[in-house]
Amino acid sequence: MKRNDRKAIDSHKKNLGMGRNTGYLYLLPWMIGFAVFKLYPILATAFYSFTNYNLFNTNLRFVGLKNYTTIFQSPKYMNSFGVTSRFALLTVPLKLVFALFIASVLNYKLKGIKFFRTAYYVPSILGGSVAISVLWQFLWQDDGLINQVGQIFNIPKVNWLGDARYTLLVICLLRVWQFGSAMVIFLAALKGVPTELYEAASIDGANRRQQFFHITIPLITPIIFYNLVTQICAAFQEFNGPYIITAGGPMGSTTLISLLIYQNAFKTYNMGMASALAWLLFIIVAVLTIIAFASQKRWVYYDEDQK
């Protein structure tokens, strides 16, 4: 069946008389875009990272690994790597677990599901907006909604945005609050799990929890994987929240690497240093992505037909 299909397509392609190069023609815009706005910048970043390049300093010099050694010897920079890791480690699992949990509740046939789905989705659709960061800053003020609600339950006020112990948590929660898009993806995946499997399992006496962990989870591992990788990439690029709400403070507690790249590149125009930081960030994201892809064989279940 499949082979026949492919044969039909192949012969059809010949029939439509498409020249060998017509495809490249349509691909041209992307190829230019890739070369100019992706490939060149990534190579140039690597190159600049070994220089003292500054926009206002015309004499460009190679400095070898100096930018990198500066980073590894400076508590400020090392701190930002710690902050970024903590941010990702806190945000990604919380967001995914929550998104999956809510998606599985929404997956039952209940009245008014659409209303809830919309309500949960709105924050992540608007999430990147400065206005949402403003809202978040507003909520966690000394007399903001969070502390006011706390007081009703006799919880003493917390200086959420001024106490270095809590600021990163506040920034993380902004992203966890935006679990909506991950949830929508999970929900679509859950709807794709064949109901016969659940029926068969309940005949065999499996309870709901067993069904969830032994049928649902294995079948949606490709989607868990997809969400995991996209969320890791997003977490390491976080910028708006810490930049707008806390400006990286207090005491560097929310200074993510992306903030330091921005400061170096566009405040002091120290492009060499910014490039070294950017390249390190790139390596971290690349290594994590590669690890995730390599680990796929161990835990991600792909349907035979799909492959």
Binding site: I9, H12, K13, L16, G17, M18, R20, T22, G23, L25, Y26, L27, P29, W30, M31, G33, F34, K38, Y40, I42, A44, L55, V105, L110, F116, A119, Y120, V122, P123, L126, G128, S129, V130, A131, I132, V134, F138, L139, D142, D143, G144, L145, Q148, I152, W177, S181, V184, I185, P222, Y226, V229, C233, Q237, F239, N240, I257, I261, Y262, A278, F282
Partner: protein, 283 residues
């Protein structure tokens, strides 16, 4: 047995309970923001968790609108000056790219597609420095060109990915008929493939509209003069201008900033849900 029975009966109630509590956490902050924008001053805002103002007033809206050098509407307008070209460029280039990947065979196609998809995972911050230097050399700084032009070259490969997933499912026989009628490949794209891909194209447009009107880092890097500020930067300006910070003004303008996006979202909800699900599920 009895306990089990009771538990089963109360399950829907528990589920509703969870949904309502979570829904409360999702919506209440936003409602509080909208409510507070109608309150008279900080003292009133920070003295109650209630949404409704004692004496609702539009004062914050009018004073916030005129609080900076330009009327707030100007910043809103600026936003769409680059968002609309960007949406158009994204759709055009992503459709062409997806068409090439799904309807043609050529050498190194699989390799090129893998490269295309792998750039999905490339963090934008890594590209910012050389891109900035490039745009600086072209004298494009302090204009919208750095925000618009790349989108005409399919740099947001997420949209290519979504369109490829969709176009793959389209049958070949219509194109064949069009071919027999004498359509060349561009005509087949225009008359056959593009109309069939419309649902995916619409959701790409909606997402790009949303994402680029919310974009903050791009304008922050490339747009310097206040005259060209989009809403994202205008709002920041208002926050900085407000010494002592009159929250109702800032919140009122936040509401104004979000309003167009909210309207678009509610008009096209299903498209958003289907679009994001399509991107994730088939990958």
């Amino acid at each position: 047995m009895n306990v089990k029975h009771l538990a089963r009966k109360s399950l829907p109630a528990i589920r509703y309970g969870i949904l309502i509590i979570v829904g409360f956490f999702m919506l209440y902050p936003m409602l509080w923001m909208v409510g507070s924008s109608f309150k008279a001053n900080n003292a009133e805002i920070f003295s109650s968790i209630g949404i409704l103002a004692k004496h609702p007033t539009f004062k914050a809206y009018t004073s916030g609108w005129f609080a900076t050098n330009y009327q707030y509407g100007w910043y809103m307008l600026n936003t769409y000056r680059f968002v609309i070209p960007k949406v158009i460029g994204t759709v055009l280039s992503a459709v062409l790219t997806a068409y090439a990947f799904t309807r043609f065979s050529f050498r190194m196609k699989n390799l090129l597609y893998s490269i295309c998809i792998s750039t999905l995972f490339l963090p934008q911050v890594v590209l910012n420095v050389p891109q900035f230097i490039l745009f600086n050399k072209m004298h494009w700084l302090d204009s919208y060109l750095p925000l618009i032009v790349p989108s005409f070259f399919a740099v947001d490969t997420y949209f290519v990915f979504v369109l490829v997933q969709f176009m793959r499912t389209l049958p070949h026989n219509l194109e064949e008929a069009a071919y027999l009628d004498g359509c060349n490949s561009l005509q087949r794209l225009y008359y056959v493939i593009a109309p069939l891909t419309k649902p995916a194209i619409v959701s790409c447009m909606l997402f790009q509209f949303m994402w680029s009107s919310n974009d903050f880092q791009g304008p922050l890097i490339y747009v310097n003069s206040v005259e060209k500020y989009p809403a994202a930067l205008g709002l920041r300006l208002l926050m900085d201008a407000e010494n002592g910070f009159e929250w109702n003004k800032v919140l009122a303008m936040s509401v104004v900033t979000l309003l167009p996006s909210l309207v678009v979202f509610f008009l096209a909800q299903d498209s958003f849900v289907d679009g994001i699900a399509a991107g994730g599920v088939k990958g």
